[in-house]
């Protein structure tokens, strides 16, 4: 059964093309880290703003004032069957000079063990973000397997 909240969150399938372009534009698809989130300067002077009074602003009767949707992360990785392993999904990360990704640990949205190479979980995604970093760690001090995955049909699928 879907809760009322979940029903309200299945909104906004017309996703902003502008956002996609800007993500590619910053090279690597990482969202802002918490640190960079404080960096952008606010506007110093009033821009040319139509000073709409709040009483004149009209919202749609069912708009919930956020843009979120449920995203399913799915892994089915044969090579990890029978091996103790663990997956993490991050919103924010950046690409290093060697091509690997450096995740921002604060932005981890899902974590858990792979069971016989399988993992499936749902989490709440923000529509302005279309790419996530997924990584698999084993317990043998080897570097993780990493994939930057784009949300497709509300899913992150490891190939």
């Amino acid at each position: 059964m879907q809760s009322p909240n979940q029903r309200k969150m299945t909104t906004l399938t017309i996703f902003s093309f502008v956002v996609l372009v800007s993500l590619y534009g910053c090279g690597g698809g990482s969202g802002e880290s918490d640190k960079s989130a404080v960096t952008p300067e606010a506007i110093d002077k009033p821009v040319e703003v139509t000073q709409l009074a709040i009483n004149d602003l009209v919202a749609a009767p069912d708009f919930n004032f956020t843009s979120k949707s449920n995203i399913i992360v799915k892994l089915n990785v044969e090579q990890y069957q029978g091996r103790r392993s663990y997956i993490n999904v991050y919103r924010h990360y950046q690409m290093m000079s060697d091509g690997s990704y450096y995740p921002d640990g604060a932005s981890r949205v899902v974590s858990g063990p792979l069971v016989d190479g399988h993992f499936t979980q749902t989490f709440t995604g923000f529509n302005k973000q279309q790419q996530y970093l997924v990584e698999i760690w084993t317990y043998d001090n080897l570097p993780p397997q990493q994939q930057e995955i784009t949300v497709t049909n509300d899913q992150l699928v490891w190939y």
């Binding site: 009322p4 906004l12 918490d34 919202a59 981890r108 993992f119 760690w137 080897l142």
Partner: protein, 736 residues
């Protein structure tokens, strides 16, 4: 040869020589004069000719300031005179009183009255008097006030007592009781000496012996001593002493010396410091990094918390940490230093990439800026400290620059639940979980110790926030500045076999910009109250466990409301009870900046794990409600108290809400169509912003501060869905 020229030349040469002599030996013109202020640094003096070092007592770092004192002599027994801001000491080579100004050049003074050919190694200054001590010789004092008029004024040493039996190599004046304190080198006993009579009190064993050539105080009354042999700096807590402290209390004080930092070693040492200065000067940018674990772990300077000098090359993560003036405790507290408003979250070099499961190995991903040494502590038994056996899980592991995967074993006795860890990366080895270090960084991280095969869902991220903003005048719409209650908020769901066994909810109160008193609670729609394990449910306020969500005299309020069909967990009955404001409101009026000071954590375990299909989506249903027995606006007949709730749009209130309030004022709720808390224009009284957020300042409407909110609303979220970001704001309408 011209006789005139010869005579002139001779006379001229003599005059020049005389001038050089006057300037060189007696001339105050050649000296830089006193210090301009009371320095936070301590000074260390070594060798012959005496070299002056500046020492940072917080980290143990030191640097040579001047090795040319202008005289071939050793100066010892130095003390800083706060009246004229000179350093006074004894020239042990020529048996003279001397002083140094801000250039650390020695100026010899005109002193008589001391025994001939006797040198003094122990001295300090208080109230414009210089005090000298030598064992078996005596305690003397010298009035320095004649120097105010004339640097060559004759000074006279006055004998206080010849009774001098303690083996001292330095002593220092306590800034609060103006008594002298020193540690006997061979017994390690701490003594208090009365500078008027020379009598002393034995205060007890410090537990340390050695040649303590340098002793200092800071403004809070902490006593520091530096051991010549190994350079170790110890601290003794004498901060509770005042001039009114009775003898019995003095003798009962714990005067154990605690290792504080590693400084320079020397075979000849003396120290001096302006005792009225704080250890860290807040007038200059800090170059010290602190942790931010709860205070029980020893985080602040007062608690001798872990701290590192930021050397610019040794750090964790991709960028160097920012400087802190102290260790601030609480969630994300490294972000919110009042004295350092530019402070940012620099805890980003450690990543827990696997679970911490009792009895099993775990991997920690560590990014090192360069090679260095890592140690880490984990509070496995969750008792609020890192002191227990096996809690240092990483001991002096050598890291290489870049990513390092470090493995460790979680003890099988580890207790499942949330806890804390501390990582220290430095060029030094052998660090403890407390104390100073001369390089590197400390990162404190919350951890989850789990049973096996648990998964986690974090909203919006493990250590990131959404912001909840409320207008508290419902059902009236007023200024729409969305700052009456501003709360940072995140949730963690703990899952086993794809069922939720527990949820944790964390919040950080950012602002109270309204006139009313509100509580804060979360309704878990679809989860029965009877399914919440009330025995193990946990509420922390600023990391301190609470029995109730609020109290008022004999009245108490539960954390889990009992008479509700849906589970409702309450973080606070009155948010104003946790903060005090420097202004009318809390952190909402321009210029009313103060540190964020209240956070909560709710941990809600379920008796029967909840199927994912039954789980409400985060952030669930967080709402504010009226505090009992307090006014909440003219529109209500009496005080609505708990029966008033304000939720996000279309979130139905709980069973405690008085449904007679629907439709009052500007509200157009209609439960028959699941419409709640909207105006006739469909606008809400509460917003969830999916990031950290800078809220509008008092009475600045949301649309003025964030003009793109209009497009976001009118496009139903398809455009301007970053309307809340700082670079979309009109800065002068924001609180900060």
């Amino acid at each position: 040869m011209n006789p005139f020229n010869t005579i002139f030349s001779n006379h001229f040469s003599k005059a020049i020589l005389s001038l050089i002599f006057i300037l060189g030996l007696n001339g105050p013109l050649a000296l830089a004069g006193p210090f301009t202020h009371c320095p936070s640094k301590a000074f260390l003096f070594q060798g012959n000719p005496v070299s002056s070092y500046g020492i940072n007592l917080v980290t143990g770092n030191y640097a040579l300031i001047e090795d040319n004192p202008g005289i071939s002599a050793n100066i010892n027994g130095l003390g800083f005179n706060q009246q004229d801001r000179y350093l006074y000491g004894f020239n042990t080579t020529h048996f003279q009183l001397a002083r140094m100004g801000s250039d650390f050049k020695v100026e010899t003074l005109n002193l008589s009255g001391l025994p001939q050919n006797t040198t003094f190694f122990v001295g300090d200054v208080a109230n414009h008097y210089y005090y000298l001590y030598r064992r078996n010789v005596g305690l003397y004092k010298v009035d320095l006030s004649p120097l105010d008029q004339d640097a060559n004024a004759p000074l006279n040493a006055i004998l206080i007592t010849t009774s001098a039996t303690i083996r001292l190599t330095d002593f220092a004046f306590h800034p609060k009781d103006n008594k002298l304190y020193g540690v006997d080198n061979s017994t390690g006993e701490l003594y208090q000496i009365d500078p008027q009579s020379g009598t002393h009190i034995t205060m007890g064993a410090t537990g340390e012996t050695g040649t303590f050539g340098a002793m200092y105080f800071d403004v809070n009354g902490y006593f520091y001593m530096s051991r010549n042999q190994d350079g170790q700096i110890y601290r003794i807590d004498l901060s509770t002493i005042s001039s009114a402290t009775p003898l019995t209390q003095l003798e009962a004080l714990d005067v154990t010396a605690v290792k504080f930092a590693d400084g320079p070693s020397s075979n000849q040492n003396d120290g001096a410091r302006c005792a009225s200065a704080p250890l860290i000067d807040e007038d200059t940018p800090s170059i010290i990094d602190f942790g931010d674990a709860p205070s029980s772990y020893g985080t602040s300077l007062a608690d001798n918390g872990a701290r590192h000098l930021i050397d610019g090359t040794t750090y964790l993560g991709l960028s160097a940490p920012d400087g802190d003036y102290d260790g601030y405790s609480g969630a994300d507290s490294d972000d919110s230093s009042l004295s350092n408003s530019q402070s940012f979250d620099d805890e980003e070099g450690i990543n827990f990439v696997t679970a911490f499961e009792a009895g099993l190995d775990s991997i920690v991903s560590v990014y090192a800026s360069r090679s260095g040494i890592l140690s880490a502590w984990f509070d496995w038994n969750r008792d609020g400290d890192f002191d227990d056996l096996n809690e240092q899980a990483i001991v002096d592991v050598q890291l290489e620059a870049g990513l390092n995967a470090v493995s460790l074993r979680v003890p099988k006795e580890a207790i499942v639940g949330s806890s804390w860890s501390r990582f220290r990366f430095s060029q030094q080895s052998g660090l403890a979980h407390f104390g100073g270090s001369s390089s590197g960084e400390v990162e404190d991280h919350a951890i989850n110790i789990s049973a096996t095969d648990l998964s986690y869902r974090y909203y919006p991220g493990e250590n990131s926030w959404v912001t909840l903003a409320y207008e508290d005048k419902w059902p009236e719409s007023e200024d729409y500045d969305m700052n009456d209650v501003v709360m940072r908020y995140r949730t963690i769901e703990v899952l086993r076999d794809n069922k939720v066994v527990r949820i944790d909810i964390k919040g950080e109160l950012q602002a109270l910009g309204g006139y009313h008193h509100s509580g804060f609670a979360v309704q878990l729609v679809n989860i029965a109250t009877s399914n919440v394990n009330t025995q193990t449910v946990r509420l922390l306020h600023n990391n301190v466990k609470q029995l109730y969500s609020g109290t008022n005299g004999a009245d108490t309020w539960d954390i889990v409301e009992s008479d509700q069909p849906n589970a409702v967990v309450v973080a606070s009955q009155d948010l104003w009870k946790h903060v005090t404001s420097v202004c009318i409101h809390y952190r909402s009026e321009p210029g009313c900046t103060q540190a964020q000071s209240f956070n909560f954590e709710l941990s809600v375990p379920f008796i029967t794990p909840v199927e994912l299909s039954d789980m409400p989506a985060p952030p669930y249903d967080p709402f504010i409600f009226g505090t009992e027995n307090l006014y909440h606006g003219e529109i209500f007949n009496g005080h609505p108290g708990r029966s008033l709730e304000i939720h996000l749009a279309d979130h139905a209130p709980t069973a405690k809400f008085n449904s007679a309030f629907f439709g009052m004022g500007d509200d157009t709720s209609d439960p028959t169509i699941n419409r709640y808390f909207r105006t006739s224009n469909n606008l809400p009284w509460a917003l969830e912003i999916t990031d950290q957020w800078h809220w509008p300042s008092e009475r600045k409407p949301l649309l003025q501060a964030y003009p793109n909110f209009q497009q976001f609303v009118e496009s139903q979220g398809t455009q301007s869905n970053n309307w809340f970001e700082l670079n979309q704001a009109v800065s002068q309408h924001l609180f900060e």
